[in-house]
């Protein structure tokens, strides 16, 4: 009997962790990534990783981590799986520590911890303000070690196109495109783990990296993999707006004592530093005295929108507020926050050690994603697993800061182990599948490429993409109004029609980035509609999903998971109950202790 093979698609934190677990089991694993895995989007995570190690003697426990996560997520997450993650988090920190991550240290040589949003405890381990980068590198190094021993084979510079499903609907491998030769290739496997990250690109501009398009998720969705809670999109309160991307200014700036404010007088044109304390409006601290600047992200984001759009208090009438760390001494700032302050300085030309930063909310993260079960990261299609930001478990209706890194590593680990077990127990391995299954999938993908390369039309993919981003950002982020969501969906459908007339300005067959982008764009348009329709249907406000016409959480009607299915060529929304067996839902508010 031939040995089973596992494929991992995506080389961020979740994908690398899954890869390591498979390699440790002794099964061969092929790792696919658009960019060299060391350049994955996980490098952008800044502030830290949560684990209730109680290293500051505050009485923190994993039960409190669980409660903060469930409460922060407005009771939409399935609780037993979140509990497992919170219980495992301290071990994950130990593992990363053993891998040599250069975490900040206390004088005793122990890991230092800082505060983050949505908790009152110092629970966040960190490596300066580039924690994601440091964690990704640690896992990348371990994978490279397994690679040197022949256990892992990397396919960097490949993009996933589709799963190969047999006649029984079981996944038997993938089709992928070599981004240099533009050839479609088939890779048989017994199980495939998707760790394809966020979907920022459907909002045009976001804090996400270029590769975070959600294209893989949308391709799978069309092949029958369900998509859950798509409407829950996190808009991070503090980013630097840019035409190409919204650059994140980590929550750790506030965790280390940074304060958010605007001048009390909207006509105050004095430089920020010369505005006296009494004439500054520290609105988060005034409105949320218990949590202050460290309220969860959805709360802070809506507060900033209220300041700018309702109270008309944005700095000089602009859509911006101050994020101020200039009162903290430079030595501390450099030791704990250098990575992000450097970004601000390089891109804005102002030293945030001396001047308050100007920031505004920006699309950041999707709580929703590929539907997986609440046990072992399996999707509804046999042989397909998912982990990391691309799946929907763990964060409910709003993710707490510094919980993403832990969920990636935890989920990736489970998925790796589960895929190995599944493959070893398969009655009929992929080796027994007739080659016609693979040949017909290759043909289907080749034809798609050929059609795109040869068609004539007047539409440019970049233009359609920009328009999609504007629609999504305007109507499907912070404030959602049903008639606008209906409009957004009809506009998205119009873009889908226009997409059929796109004209590729590059028709070559070598490193054609336009062809790849066009393929991603088609998928993005569909996923944008999944997000929009989910938001339209959900008539309540919960976590990051806010409808002024339905301002309250409605547990009687909406304490349920949205589960989108692709039926007869269209999106169909279904719902299923949330597992609330551990913590009964209660009202979520941050102006007082929970």
């Amino acid at each position: 009997m031939t040995q089973p093979k596992i494929i991992v698609v995506g080389g961020g934190l979740a994908g690398l962790m899954a890869t390591i677990r498979v390699a440790e089991s002794g099964l061969p694993v092929d790792l696919f990534s658009i960019v060299p895995v060391k350049r994955s989007h996980s490098v952008c995570a800044q502030g830290g990783i949560n684990a209730a190690k109680n290293q500051k003697g505050e009485g923190d426990t994993t039960a409190k981590h669980l409660d903060d996560t469930i409460y922060g997520g407005d009771f939409l997450a399935n609780q037993p799986l979140v509990k497992r993650m919170c219980d495992e988090a301290p071990n994950i920190i130990d593992l990363l520590d053993r891998m040599g991550v250069m975490f900040n240290r206390t004088p005793e040589g122990l890991l230092d911890y800082r505060r983050f949003g949505g908790t009152l405890y110092h629970r966040t381990a960190f490596a300066g303000a580039t924690t994601g980068q440091q964690l990704l590198y640690a896992l990348d190094e371990q994978v490279r070690r397994h690679e040197s021993e022949g256990k892992v084979k990397k396919f960097e510079g490949f993009t996933f196109l589709s799963a190969v499903l047999d006649d029984a609907g079981v996944c038997r491998g993938i089709s992928a495109m070599d981004l240099r030769s533009m050839e479609v290739k088939i890779f048989p496997a017994d199980a495939v783990i998707f760790c394809t990250g966020g979907i920022g690109a459907i909002f045009g501009r976001s804090t996400n990296s270029v590769v975070c398009t959600g294209s893989a998720q949308a391709a799978l969705f069309q092949q029958g993999v369900d998509y859950a809670n798509g409407e829950f999109i996190q808009v991070h309160p503090t980013s630097i707006p840019g035409e190409d991307k919204l650059r994140l200014m980590s929550e750790s700036a506030r965790g280390e004592g940074g304060r958010v404010w605007v001048p009390r007088n909207p006509n105050d044109t004095r430089p920020a530093k010369s505005i006296p304390e009494s004439e500054r409006f520290y609105f988060l601290e005034e409105w949320y005295p218990k949590y202050g600047n460290l309220v969860p992200r959805d709360i802070a984001t809506r507060a900033i929108h209220r300041i700018v759009y309702q109270e008309k208090l944005g700095i000089n009438g602009q859509a911006a507020v101050y994020l101020d760390v200039s009162h903290i001494d430079s030595e501390t700032l450099d030791r704990k926050l250098e990575g992000i302050l450097e970004i601000y300085e390089k891109f804005c030309g102002v030293d945030p050690r001396k001047e308050p930063m100007k920031v505004f909310p920006g699309m950041h993260y999707t709580m929703g994603g590929i539907w997986i079960n609440a046990v072992d990261q399996a999707t509804n299609v046999p042989g397909i697993y998912a982990a990391g930001e691309c799946e929907y478990q763990y964060h409910g209706a709003n993710r707490l800061g510094a919980n993403s890194l832990v969920s990636c590593i935890f989920g990736g680990g489970i998925a790796g182990t589960a895929a190995v077990k599944y493959s070893n127990n398969l009655e009929k391995g992929t080796a027994s599948v007739p080659s016609t299954i693979f040949d017909s999938e290759k043909k289907r993908q080749d034809e798609k490429n050929q059609a795109l390369l040869s068609q004539d039309g007047a539409e440019n993919p970049m233009t359609i993409w920009k328009e999609m981003g504007e629609i999504m950002t305007e109507h499907v982020t912070v404030t959602r109004i049903n008639k606008n969501l209906e409009l957004a969906d009809s506009q998205l459908r119009a873009l889908q029609t226009r997409y059929r007339k796109i004209n590729l300005s590059d028709r070559t067959r070598w490193s054609n980035q336009t062809l790849n982008f066009a393929r991603e764009l088609e998928n993005m348009l569909l996923l944008a509609r999944v997000v929009t329709l989910g938001a339209l249907a959900r008539n309540e406000s919960r976590g990051a999903h806010y409808k002024p016409d339905f301002p309250e959480r409605d547990d009687a009607n909406w304490l349920k998971t949205t589960r989108a299915k692709f039926k007869n060529g269209d999106i169909q929304l279904t719902y299923e109950p949330v597992d609330i067996s551990l913590i009964p839902p209660r009202v979520r508010k941050y102006d007082a202790a929970k």
């Binding site: 130990d94 053993r98 250069m102 920009k466 070598w510």
Partner: protein, 249 residues
């Protein structure tokens, strides 16, 4: 008043075997433009300054905030990251070329696999027993962390290799970034247990002896990593190791 423009001259090459040529573009200026925004403008409207239709420019990019190391290219003769290269800080016309020390893929996109292979050569990792639960890692003095952390921010962008006269097709020199990673892993309490292996991997062809102490690397590093310090320290260790080996014969 005429609209303000950005003039770019970009070196194009359709594939590795093909001859290179230059194309000029004229774009509408906006505040806070960087080179990535310029390349996206061209993708949306791939027409040269003299009105000829062309193809969008191929280039590497991902995070756009200078932490992933993708978008290195030679801009106005100097290698830098395109995302943090702001148009208003560059003299026009802005010339953009691919890096020269790595095989070209197309236009501005290059293949830096050599660097990842070199990381494998020097065993740039901590050899852990497994990912199962084995308790906490070793204690690390804050002083070590403060030295190690800056080294661990190396994003394998390749700028230090591009500016190094010793990096050329003749000698396979791994370059400053890789030597600095050896220092990082040898400084960690667990990594130190295998320091000799990494030093050994840096001896011989393409190893640390190829360094001619020109010190361009440390100037070019976008993360201000003390690369020359790393080279000096690893060099000392390498000498020590050779000497001990010679004495024990």
């Amino acid at each position: 008043m005429a609209e303000k423009k950005v003039i770019l001259k970009i070196k194009r090459q359709s594939s590795p075997g093909q001859p290179a040529h230059w194309e000029e573009f004229s774009l509408r200026w906006r505040p806070s433009m960087n080179i990535i925004i310029c390349l996206r403008d061209i993708a949306e409207n791939p027409v040269t300054r003299d009105g000829k239709k062309t193809t969008p420019v191929s280039y590497d990019s991902n995070c756009l905030e200078e932490v992933c190391g993708s978008c290195a290219m030679v801009i106005n003769g100097k290698v830098k990251m395109a995302c943090s290269a702001l148009v208003d800080q560059l003299t026009q016309p802005i010339t953009i070329e691919p890096m020269t020390k790595f095989p070209i893929v197309r236009d501005l996109a290059v293949n830096r696999q050599f660097m990842f292979d070199s990381l494998q050569r020097v065993k740039a990792w901590i050899p852990i027993d497994g990912t199962y639960s084995l308790g906490e890692g070793p204690r690390v003095a804050p002083e070590i962390q403060e030295k190690g952390y800056p080294l661990s921010r190396c994003m394998t962008c390749g700028l230090c290799l591009e500016v190094c006269p010793q990096v050329n097709s003749g000698n396979n020199f791994v370059g400053a970034a890789i030597i600095s990673q050896v220092r990082l892993f040898n400084m960690h309490p667990t990594g130190a247990m295998h320091a000799k292996e990494r030093i050994r991997a840096l001896q011989g062809e393409g190893g640390i002896e190829e360094c001619a102490n020109v010190q361009n690397c440390v100037q070019a590093c976008p993360k201000a990593i003390p690369l020359t310090e790393s080279i000096a320290e690893v060099n000392r260790e390498a000498w020590k190791q050779s000497l001990v080996g010679w004495l024990l014969g």
